[in-house]
């Protein structure tokens, strides 16, 4: 598979809604340890709202789909992941306007814009024990392996990196967000935002492989 079509993107978003619903308690549990115990519920609520918009996506370009998803996440997630994922998809929309399918390079542009938005919005750097600890290495890995145009291969690599990177947040001390209030006590826990980000990449790979 060389490209991701509009309908593949919609399938991805719907898959995410299912995954976050299934993993709701798991993610919330992660958040309960070092945050305010709402990440699972927030992600499930936000992506359920996105999935509910699927009928509107019929025949629309990917830019529209991403933008609508972004606005939906902004207004329904509730926690910090709302503006973060919202900004991510909004900037990705800017790179996919008018497109009905994404090549490996197109997806790379979307990811790059999205990650830049995360950096600008969250102001977190690598090692702060946030979702950035996943997104920064994922972007590097994707870009490195997408150069030859193989989307599935690039996503496979990105997904592997994501899992490793998420797990690597466990020993870190949080520097941003609610977890940072715990200081040293935040060490020893998996960062829920890093985990949900990893799930997001993994789901995209699942769709790309179909």
């Amino acid at each position: 598979m060389k490209e991701l079509s509009s309908s593949a993107i919609v399938s991805w978003l719907q898959l995410l809604a299912r995954i976050y619903e299934e993993k709701k308690d798991y993610l919330t549990g992660l958040d309960a340890a070092i945050g305010d115990a709402d990440h699972g519920a927030n992600m499930a609520r936000g992506f359920a709202a996105v999935a509910a918009k699927a009928p509107q996506f019929e025949g629309k370009d990917i830019g529209f789909i991403f933008k609508t998803s972004a606005m939906t996440l902004l207004s329904t997630v509730g926690g910090a992941s709302g503006p973060l994922y919202g900004s991510f998809f909004l900037q990705a929309a800017g790179k996919s306007n008018g497109k009905t399918s994404l090549t490996a390079a197109d997806l790379g542009a979307c990811l790059e814009a999205g990650v830049a938005a995360l950096t600008a919005r969250g102001k977190a750097v690598f090692g702060d024990k946030t979702m950035m600890d996943v997104w920064l290495p994922v972007l590097d890995a994707y870009k490195a392996s997408a150069a030859d145009g193989d989307l599935v291969a690039a996503l496979t690599k990105a997904s592997e990196v994501a899992k490793t990177a998420a797990a690597a947040t466990i020993p870190l001390v949080a520097k941003k967000g609610r977890a940072s209030y715990l200081g040293e006590r935040s060490a020893g826990h998996l960062d829920p935002g890093a985990e949900s980000s990893s799930l997001l990449i993994e789901a995209l790979l699942t769709i790309a492989r179909q």
Binding site: A41, L74, S75, G78, S81, G82, P83, S87, G177, R178
Partner: protein, 804 residues
């Protein structure tokens, strides 16, 4: 006014803080909240889209300050900014100020009309008071860290604060900046108030010193540059910390008498002359509650809106008629101009569109339309047009009331005082309680607004554009007393005893002059060259007649009989009219009473007369034209008039005579009334003197012909001007053309006066020009022998006539 947006994870918290803020500011402050996530926003979380909407709902170029609780609230608020128009972004500030204290401080500051920067500074420093109260040594966390030493030590100097408003936000900010230039830890202590020490580099800390004009402050410095700091800061404070100190303030400073809170006067724009003294009260902006219901049936909802517009038009016509009796016709016609809003296709179409496309209910659609239009007006370059925004809002509210939304905007004061408002609508001005309102301060507004015209006609002292003057007033601290001068625009806040006394002396002198003029008013008004000028009253009710007698009127020059017909379901019968007229004639104790027969039509609609809707009502069946076409109506009135004439010196006057035949017919009708009374043996006076209004150019041009057939003329300058110049005097766009002293009008008045003199009949002026000293003086020179005016103007008029 700067708007506030409160963003919290918790809807309940946002709402509660909103209540706290509102309890300090009232509903006028533009304040919106966003909080909670999920359905109904009952879960904890934030919503960038809702924040965006909240910002937009309170946005103006004055700016918006956004306070957030934490975490995602900050991120969501930042995200919301991404969606705003680029031009709006510089006017929006996200602040790290403490959520609750900051919101209250910012709300109060915004309400005072402060700029966004100052509102933000207040919010950021909002913990200072609490911190001081709890004797915390360290600075509030929100303030940038300063090098703090627990005890102030080192060399010191003393200085007296020269600024009229003391160390308030702006001078404090500058002082803090200045202090930061030196390598020294600088502290200030307020010796007069016993407060401090405060860290000089902290704005909020400086404010807690409460240093006012005349207070002595000690500067203490320690560090390598302690000497330079002491010298530099002393000079900086003495020079006013960047504020300009005018001579008056300097005087107070050098005399060192002012340790009180006396603050200096400043100027706004005088818009209605007179002096007002009293406590300041903020007028809450009208609260409007609009139903959320969706328009299920678009056609029905559209029809509902149109019905409401129609009803509002009717109501406004009735109000205008009633008002014209109170404040004079041309003033009341401001409301005629307002009525045009109801017919504005741009507004009705936009509202219709909102109903059809957005499924808004009629009230919501209409109010949004009005708010959009008000925003457009407010952003216009042209000052005159901006002032029309108040008219739009006025009419908008009137329509909402018809739609059943409780939208009262009446301003009530708890006790006598001065009303402070952003601006007043004309409707609000007419509803002001003259007993309690000693003056009006508008933060915005201007001299030419309709509200200003009405304030002048009501004699309420007022100033406008006072935002700058009131900016630094701390309304929370204590009741603020002020003196306003509606002539010069001067506002003196918290006047000291001497200032207050001088104002009271001036007011007493004015009162004494008025009392003196009133006492002399019973005497005839004779010019220095020996001409006696009769000064009559225009009267539209028994109360007016009593006021006329009390103010020394030489008689009633114009008794408007329309009042007998207003506010009722059917025409009054002969007996009712007779009794009302009789009472008025009696009230004048034998002085002349000139009764004008019914002057309905034109702008004066009387519903039960079923007047046909005309394209040009002022050129249609009105006044005498109507009466001649309704013999039963006319006969009833004429009979009542002849009967009442038994009680004193009553004279009859026919309005709007344009052709000789009309006068002949009117006189014939009067003779008929006499004949029928005589046939029925009903006591009445016959004959009575008959006169006519001179208000149509066709009559004025042949005044000599009419002079032979009547016993007096009365010139209605308002209509004469309108008909001569073809200028609708209700049309505000043509106000500059509507000039009684236009050469054509003057020439007609001269013609009328000459014809009257040739026949030796009196010629009066009963239009508003009669009360305008400048115009009336010219009228007297043209040969006018009598003036008829609002009863309250009579003592002053007689006074100036005697000076001539």
């Amino acid at each position: 006014m700067v708007g506030l947006v409160l963003v919290s994870h918790s809807r309940a918290l946002a709402e509660a803080v909103q209540r706290l803020v509102r309890s300090m500011t009232g509903p006028e402050l533009p304040l919106a909240i966003s909080g909670g996530a999920g359905e109904d926003h009952q879960d904890l979380g934030t919503d960038a889209v809702e924040i965006l909407e909240a910002i937009q709902s309170v946005y103006s170029v004055d700016g918006v300050l956004v306070l957030m609780d934490m975490g995602s609230a900050v991120l969501s608020a930042e995200t919301a900014l991404d969606f705003l128009e680029e031009a709006q972004c510089p006017h929006i500030k996200l602040t790290s100020a403490p959520f609750i204290e900051g919101a209250v401080a910012a709300g109060v500051s915004a309400k005072l009309g402060n700029a966004l920067g100052d509102v933000t500074a207040e919010a950021v420093g909002a913990l200072a008071q609490k911190s001081e109260h709890l004797n915390e040594e360290s600075e509030p966390a929100a303030v940038p860290p300063t090098q703090t030493a627990p005890v102030a030590q080192g060399p010191s100097v003393r200085v007296v604060i020269p600024n009229p408003q003391g160390i308030h936000a702006r001078p404090a900010a500058r002082l803090a900046q200045e202090a930061g230039k030196y390598k020294a830890d600088v502290r200030l202590r307020n010796l007069t108030a016993g407060k401090g020490p405060a860290v000089a580099r902290s704005l909020t800390s400086l404010i807690t010193l409460g240093a006012r004009q005349g207070h002595e402050v000690e500067i203490i410095a320690s560090g390598p540059q302690e000497r330079e700091a002491l010298d530099g800061l002393k000079k900086f404070i003495e020079a006013g910390m960047g504020d300009s100190l005018n001579e008056k303030f300097a005087e107070v400073e050098t005399s060192k008498t002012a340790t009180s809170a006396a603050e200096g006067p400043t100027h706004a724009m005088g818009i209605s002359s007179g002096i007002g003294v009293g406590r300041l009260f903020f007028a809450a902006e009208s609260s409007v509650s609009i139903p959320d219901a969706i328009a299920e049936d678009v056609a029905a909802e559209t029809a509902r809106l149109h019905e409401a517009l129609q009803q509002t038009r009717k109501q406004m016509q009735a109000d205008t008629a009633a008002l014209s009796r109170q404040i004079g016709k041309s003033k009341a016609e401001i409301f005629v101009a307002q009525m045009l809003v109801l017919d504005d296709p741009a507004l009705t179409e936009r509202a219709g569109q909102l109903i059809a496309e957005e499924k808004n209910n009629a009230a919501r659609a209409w109010w949004q339309t009005i708010q959009e239009a008000v925003t457009v007006y407010n952003n216009l370059e042209d000052e005159l047009l901006r002032q029309r925004a108040a008219d739009l809002k006025d009419v908008g509210l009137a329509v909402l009331r018809q739609l059943g939304c409780g939208a009262s905007d009446r301003i009530e004061l708890p006790e006598p005082g001065i009303v402070v408002a952003r601006d007043l609508t004309p409707g609000q001005v007419t509803q002001l309680d003259g007993e309690k309102v000693c003056g009006v301060i508008c933060l915005e507004g201007g001299r030419t607004s309709h509200s200003a015209i009405l304030l002048r006609s009501r004699g309420i002292p007022a100033v406008a554009q006072a935002q700058g003057v009131l900016q630094s007033v701390d309304f929370n601290a204590a009741p603020v007393l002020a003196v306003i001068n509606g002539e010069s625009g001067e506002i003196t806040l918290n006047p000291d005893k001497a200032a207050l006394e001088s104002v009271e002396t001036e007011l007493a002198a004015q009162k004494a002059r008025a009392a003196q003029e009133k006492a002399e008013s019973g005497q005839p008004a004779i010019t220095k060259d020996g001409r006696r000028i009769e000064v009559f009253a225009n009267v539209g009710s028994l109360a007016d007649a009593e006021a006329a007698a009390a103010n020394g009127a030489d008689g009633i020059g114009l008794l408007r009989t329309e009042f007998l017909f207003m506010d009722r379901a059917e025409a009054p019968n002969e007996e009712e009219q007779y009794i009302s007229l009789r009472d008025i004639v009696r009230a004048m104790g034998g002085k002349p009473v000139i009764v004008r027969t019914l002057d309905a039509g034109g702008d004066k609609n009387i519903p039960y007369l079923d007047l046909p809707k005309e394209e040009n009502p002022f050129l249609g069946v009105r006044a005498i034209r109507l009466c001649l076409r309704r013999p039963e109506l006319f006969q009833t009135q004429l009979r009542a008039i002849l009967r009442a004439a038994l009680e004193g010196d009553l004279r009859v006057m026919f309005p709007m005579i344009a052709a000789e035949s009309e006068l002949v017919s009117a006189k014939t009708a009067l003779a008929q009334a006499h004949a029928s009374l005589a046939a029925q043996n009903v006591p009445h006076r016959w004959p009575v003197p008959v006169g006519m209004m001179m208000e149509v150019p066709s009559a004025a041009l042949v005044a000599d012909k009419f002079a032979a057939q009547v016993e007096f003329f009365s010139i209605g300058t308002n209509d004469l001007t309108q008909y001569t110049l073809a200028v609708d005097r209700g049309n505000t766009a043509l106000q500059d053309l509507s000039d009684t002293l236009n050469p054509a009008v003057v020439s007609l008045i001269e013609t009328i006066a000459k014809a009257a003199h040739a026949r030796q009949i009196p010629v009066a002026v009963c239009g508003e020009a009669a009360a305008d000293q400048k115009v009336a003086a010219i009228l007297l020179d043209l040969g006018v022998t009598e003036l008829s005016m609002n009863p309250r103007s009579i003592p002053g008029a007689k006074h100036w006539i005697r000076q001539r």
